[in-house]
């Protein structure tokens, strides 16, 4: 075999490998994290959990949220949500989202499906007000559902291994943007996680589907500080701590248990 044909064969093998790599499972991993929300560091407001799995280029993710401690005396909210879709080297494409919201003996279910780039939402019972202005079809179709948005943001941060990323979110009524920018890097220890972490400024920007979002109210939205795990290249960054300043003190979401199996 001469030198030229060797090169041609090597190139062909490389191309074949890259095609196989693109077509085969992107990666397989599963993760689970549980959180506790508190205000002023002592008054417990609720508990939350996030878990997800990726296999053969598909993902499912689930989240739960429940008021507990002092907050449960005034409001008993229980939210369960899940989403699924595909993961390709180009990004995350969600296909299905469900949310069940139980509060004060009332229930609401939001189901969304995304087929051919078109998002269809079904909300039972329906919202009596879709906000001013309501989310447009383009905004709905160009957004992630809330659970997939967290997964996509974690993947963006995980791929860059830095606080960078913006995701548009549509939850069946409201359309908003979540974005992170870098603040610091460091080591985080607690809640079962011990390792490198990224501190990010996290911004929540309401866009459409809100009824009471005056310019003054928008101006009062605080910038949160979010700590994310810094996974190996290509992994998913998991939120470790989110601190939101409020007029009565910092509200904080802290990780309480962590499992990540790449």
């Amino acid at each position: 075999m001469n030198r030229t044909s060797w090169a041609a064969h090597a190139r062909a093998i490389l191309i074949a490998l890259s095609v196989v790599a693109a077509a085969s499972p992107v990666w397989a991993l599963s993760y689970r994290a549980e959180y506790e929300a508190s205000i002023l560091g002592v008054v417990v407001l609720g508990r939350a959990s996030v878990q997800g799995a990726v296999l053969n280029g598909r993902y499912t993710s689930a989240a739960t949220l429940r008021t507990s401690g002092a907050a449960a005396l005034f409001d008993q909210t229980n939210i369960t949500a899940n989403a699924s879709g595909v993961v390709t080297p180009r990004g995350v494409g969600w296909t299905s989202y469900n949310l069940s919201h139980a509060y004060a003996s009332k229930f609401r279910r939001v189901s969304m499906r995304r087929t051919g780039g078109v998002t269809q939402a079904s909300v039972t019972p329906r919202y009596w007000d879709m906000g001013v202005p309501p989310a447009t079809a383009a905004q709905r179709n160009g957004s992630y559902d809330p659970v997939s948005a967290l997964f996509a943001l974690g993947r963006l941060i995980g791929q860059a291994r830095a606080c960078t990323g913006t995701v548009g979110v549509y939850d069946g009524r409201q359309h908003y943007r979540l974005s992170v920018t870098p603040r610091a890097t460091g080591t985080f220890r607690g809640g079962g996680y011990s390792g490198p972490a990224l501190s990010c400024a996290m911004r929540y920007t309401p866009i459409a589907g809100f009824s009471d979002m005056t310019p003054a109210a928008r101006a009062r939205i605080p910038v949160a500080t979010a700590w994310f795990s810094r996974p190996a290249q290509g992994g998913v960054a998991i939120p470790l701590r989110i601190i939101v300043p409020t007029p009565i003190g910092a509200a904080q979401l802290d990780i309480r248990s962590y499992r990540y199996a790449p």
Binding site: G52, V54, R58, Y59, T64, S84, S100
Partner: protein, 202 residues
């Protein structure tokens, strides 16, 4: 009685009474539990949800549930009942849901599925029918079968779902025609497996 009025008895006793009143007023809230996805135990191609996997279901309107425990507080089963006058399970109902962990959803694939439900009767208020539903997004797919009056395993069959529609939860919804009580059943285990026609391609 004068003994009770001494400060070192009176104040601790008053504090204890206040604490007891708060605890009693909280009532069932003390036992409130998170709805939490369960991984299930792998049994060949099937996943089995039993014991603690049944202890964290998501609630549903017009239904009540109770986690039955042994004397040693081990989860024995999940008792689910429907409020009077609700008729048969409807597609826009979710039922009390046993939530599936994401890795379980992915491993199960898109179906078709066989769901085997192990039940034991409850005294007096045993529901005559039990609907089991799969939550794959959108409306629930319910299958209703009669409930035998003895401990049994009931088999439900579900067709393959749309591409990318994974099972995120298994809904449980007893059905009864009588209007006097909440009627229900106790579930001891749920076994779900993809039937051979839907086995995933290699």
């Amino acid at each position: 009685m004068r003994f009770l009025l001494s400060w070192w008895v009176f104040f601790p006793l008053a504090a204890l009474l206040v604490a007891a009143s708060i605890v009693v007023s909280l009532g069932p809230m003390l036992l409130a539990r998170d709805a939490r996805p369960a991984v299930g135990a792998r049994d060949g191609a099937a996943f089995v949800f039993a014991g603690d996997d049944l202890a964290h279901p998501a609630p549903a309107p017009h239904q009540v549930f109770h986690v039955a425990r042994t004397a040693t507080l081990r989860t024995e089963g999940l008792r689910v009942a429907v409020l009077p006058g609700r008729g048969e399970a409807q597609p826009d109902e979710t039922g009390v849901q046993v939530l599936l962990a994401p890795e379980t959803s992915l491993a199960l694939g898109e179906g078709p599925f066989r769901v085997e439900v192990q039940t034991v009767p409850v005294p007096i208020t045993m529901a005559p029918r039990l609907a089991i539903g799969l939550d794959r997004g959108g409306q629930m797919e319910w299958r209703t079968l009669p409930l035998p009056a003895v401990a049994s395993t009931i088999v439900y069959e579900f067709p393959r779902g749309e591409d990318g529609a994974f099972v995120s939860a298994i809904g449980v919804r007893p059905a009864a025609s009588l209007l006097d009580y909440n009627y229900g059943v106790e579930l001891r285990a749920i076994r779900i497996m993809q039937t051979p026609a839907g086995a995933a391609a290699p």
